[in-house]
């Protein structure tokens, strides 16, 4: 028995979310120029300041060059050959779910995200985004009773323009990088969360992103603001149909935590990864950053990345406030020809700031999985601490795992620890489980699950089992 091959077969299960919803879509013509941006802004009935924001970003973008420092090889995107706005034909957002096209509801049902009153998750509010628009947000009224705002970013732009103007682009500036600039110019939809002072958000918030059109770029934009002494836990999930072309997903996520506020942001990313020959799949080029603006604030990122042909993202924390805390927990599973270059940046500015990084990479097939992270301690960050742990697991002989930890400390009174390890699935561990009657497949799942448990423990309860299932799905076989 060739054990390696069998393990590889297990990690090569077909993608279950590859279906296309047959729905009439309104698309604007391909290509990008000022008029397209004006058209998007007009379609979304945006205020003047936002159009200006977009045009400024576009101007910056034109002067920027697509980065190539990551060493990721991919066929470059033809930005004039993309559609920048696609929406199911039901232009205006419906007041009630009964008015949403049943085909769309059915789509989300199939994805395991039921939206209708009877079936929806009991303690999770969901914002469902289909191509460029948000089609429904559940539990809005209930949340509003607590003063919590949870809606699509388009809606927020119209209804809470002051908040948007005050915060958008303050964590990720429009010229931050090539993809962030592009996103700032053309972003379509995404979620907006505002937790007022002193409020602990009464339920989990969640956004679910679905790409349906093949030639459409998805540029989602998420903004979460937690005022003083408030807290929120938010989760995003993503899937897409199987196309043999590469679709671009360039999102920007900004988080702002004021004094004593806490934001937990979790991602379960399962975009289509391309086929076993490496054809097709999503380019997931994302800028995610949180700012612990206030004292004793906390931002915690956790991510389970299993999809996309290429993942290129570094959810980061700017630890501005004294005694603030940043955390990053990541599982990245790559197979076939997938490439993941992911990690985090922890920028310590305030005194006694703390950060913790736990990254688990699992690479199978011919995939490449890299952890790339920066821990930077500024002269002002007296008494700061960082702990990083990066573990990689290799499956088979053709996968690769790399760790690039960058550490810059300009403050002698700081403490930085870094641990890294690389392992394979151990034959003895496998045999131990099997010799207790547990079949091979389930044993592999258990071991991988065990390898990732530090990160699973950080996911919100409701989603830890979902994420485990997602890994198991890629690994086919139930995980206990």
């Amino acid at each position: 028995m060739n054990q390696t091959n069998t393990v590889e077969e297990i990690v090569s299960q077909p993608y279950k979310y590859g279906f296309i919803t047959d729905i009439e879509t309104e698309k604007i013509p391909k290509g990008l120029n000022e008029d397209v941006i004006k058209l998007i802004s007009k379609k979304k009935k945006e205020p003047e300041f936002l159009l200006k924001f977009r045009l400024r970003a576009y101007e910056q973008w034109l002067r920027m060059k697509e980065p190539d420092w990551s060493g990721l090889n991919y066929s470059k995107v033809d930005y004039q050959n993309l559609v920048y706005y696609a929406a199911p034909k039901q232009d205006i957002k419906k007041k009630s779910l009964d008015e949403v096209d049943p085909k769309l509801l059915e789509t989300f049902d199939k994805l395991g995200i039921p939206l209708s009153e009877q079936k929806r998750l009991s303690n999770v509010a969901v914002d469902a985004v289909f191509d460029s628009v948000s089609i429904a947000t559940t539990y809005k009224e209930k949340l509003a009773e607590h003063g919590v705002i949870f809606c699509s970013i388009s809606e927020a732009i119209n209804e809470y323009p002051d908040l948007i103007e005050k915060y958008m682009g303050t964590v990720v500036p429009i010229n931050d990088n090539f993809f962030a600039a592009l996103n700032s110019a053309v972003f379509s939809d995404g979620s907006f969360v505002f937790i007022p002072k002193g409020i602990e958000c009464p339920m989990e918030l969640s956004s679910y992103f679905r790409i349906n059109s093949g030639d459409t770029g998805q540029f989602e934009r998420t903004l979460i603001i937690a005022e003083e002494s408030s807290s929120v836990s938010y989760l995003e999930g993503c899937t897409a149909p199987m196309f043999d072309t590469n679709t671009l997903h360039a999102a920007v996520v900004e988080l702002v935590a004021l004094d004593n506020a806490s934001i937990k942001y979790s991602t379960v990313q399962n975009w289509y990864a391309g086929n076993e020959k490496g054809i097709g799949g999503i380019y997931n080029f994302v800028t995610k950053r949180g700012e612990c603006r206030g004292k004793k604030s906390k931002i915690s990122w956790s991510q389970v990345e299993t999809g996309s042909a290429i993942t290129w993202k570094y959810p980061s924390c700017i630890l501005q406030g004294d005694n603030s805390i940043g955390e990053f927990y990541s599982i990245a599973l790559t197979n076939n020809f997938q490439k993941a270059d992911t990690g985090t940046k922890m920028i310590h500015i305030g005194k006694n700031t703390k950060s913790k990084i736990v990254s688990k990479g699992i690479s199978a097939g011919k995939s490449k999985n890299s952890y790339r992270g920066l821990v930077s301690i500024s002269p002002s960050a007296e008494g700061s601490r960082n702990y990083s742990q990066c573990d990689s697991m290799l499956i088979g002989d053709n996968a690769s795992a790399n760790t690039y930890p960058y550490i810059q400390s300009k403050q002698p009174q700081s403490n930085i620890e870094h641990e890294a390890s690389t392992c394979r699935i151990s034959e003895d561990q496998l045999f131990y489980l099997q010799s207790r009657g547990i079949d091979f497949e389930e044993s592999v799942s258990m071991l991988i699950s065990g390898f990732c448990s530090d990160v699973f423990n950080e996911l919100p309860m409701e989603f830890a089992s979902e994420a485990d299932k997602l890994l198991a799905l890629k690994l086919e076989g139930s995980v206990g």
Binding site: F431, Y432, S435, G437, I438, F440, S443, S453
Partner: protein
């Protein structure tokens, strides 16, 4: 049931096996019937552990020739998990640590896979907790060990007790306990030995692989086999182990030399 003719549980004939292209077993023969306790002794490297791994189906060990029948069925083609499910249990000399996998959940999944084979209902988390708490008493183990990762950070003695706990849950037909006594202090040895005694059953059998008489003071074997160079070279009753303890393995060497000379 007719007690006068106990059924054969395990029959090993002329077994040759290798690991990493190095032959270790050179023709092992062994017959084990219901209700019997067999001890296998021998020097390090004589092939005792290899024999146990081959019976359990470790993929790194290759059977070159010979046969292993379990209750009349050839098991050489069975995967390790299939052997476990029909009732073959290997208690490891060095149980591996599996970080991140909950001991409780591992025990539950394992127990259910065996129960399924026995056509018993599978146990949910609550039912299983009741069962495991009862079985814990056999090895006098603290329930706190259930909450930890499989064997992670367990002391030598705790790992061995965890092995016997698994044996208690899986209710095997044949248990092969590979140096379960090694690294145990006197108290732990007594607990483990009494656990094994409590679990022995007229329809099951046990193979104890050991270096020391002290385990056999606690568990009385019906047969003692001595292995050398990949073969069982001598079989006797419990007295053989006592002789061995007195005179060491040299006494075997002398015996075999005498035999050769007699030829």
């Amino acid at each position: 049931m007719n007690l006068s003719t106990p059924e054969t549980i395990l029959s090993i004939q002329d077994l040759h096996a290798s690991v990493e292209d190095q032959q270790i077993l050179y023709g092992v023969n062994l017959l084990i019937k219901e209700g019997e306790i067999h001890a296998i002794m021998g020097r390090n490297g004589s092939g005792k552990s290899t024999l146990s791994k081959v019976i359990a189906g470790h993929p790194a060990y290759k059977v070159l020739s010979g046969s292993i029948n379990f209750k009349g069925t050839n098991i050489l083609e069975l995967a390790p998990e299939e052997r476990a499910r029909v009732g073959i249990f290997l208690g490891f000399q060095y149980p591996v640590e599996i970080p991140g996998v909950s001991n409780l959940e591992f025990l539950r999944v394992a127990t259910n896979s065996r129960r399924k084979e026995l056509l018993k209902n599978e146990l949910d988390t609550f039912e299983f907790e009741d069962l495991v708490k009862e079985r814990l008493k056999i090895v006098e183990m603290d329930p706190a060990f259930l909450e930890r990762s499989v064997n992670e950070g367990f002391s030598g003695g705790e790992k061995k007790r965890n092995e016997i706990l698994q044996m208690a849950l899986l209710e095997p037909v044949i248990s092969i306990l590979d140096e379960t006594d090694s690294g145990l202090d006197i108290d732990a040895l007594r607990i483990v030995a009494s656990g094994i005694n409590k679990l022995s059953h007229p329809n099951s059998a046990t193979i104890l692989i050991t270096h020391y008489q002290r385990l056999l003071n606690e568990i009385t074997p019906d047969f003692v086999h001595i292995m050398a160079d990949g073969k069982i070279i001598k079989t006797g009753n419990k007295e053989l182990a006592i002789d061995l303890e007195k005179s060491g393995y040299d006494f075997i060497d002398k015996n075999t030399k005498d035999k050769e000379l007699a030829k």
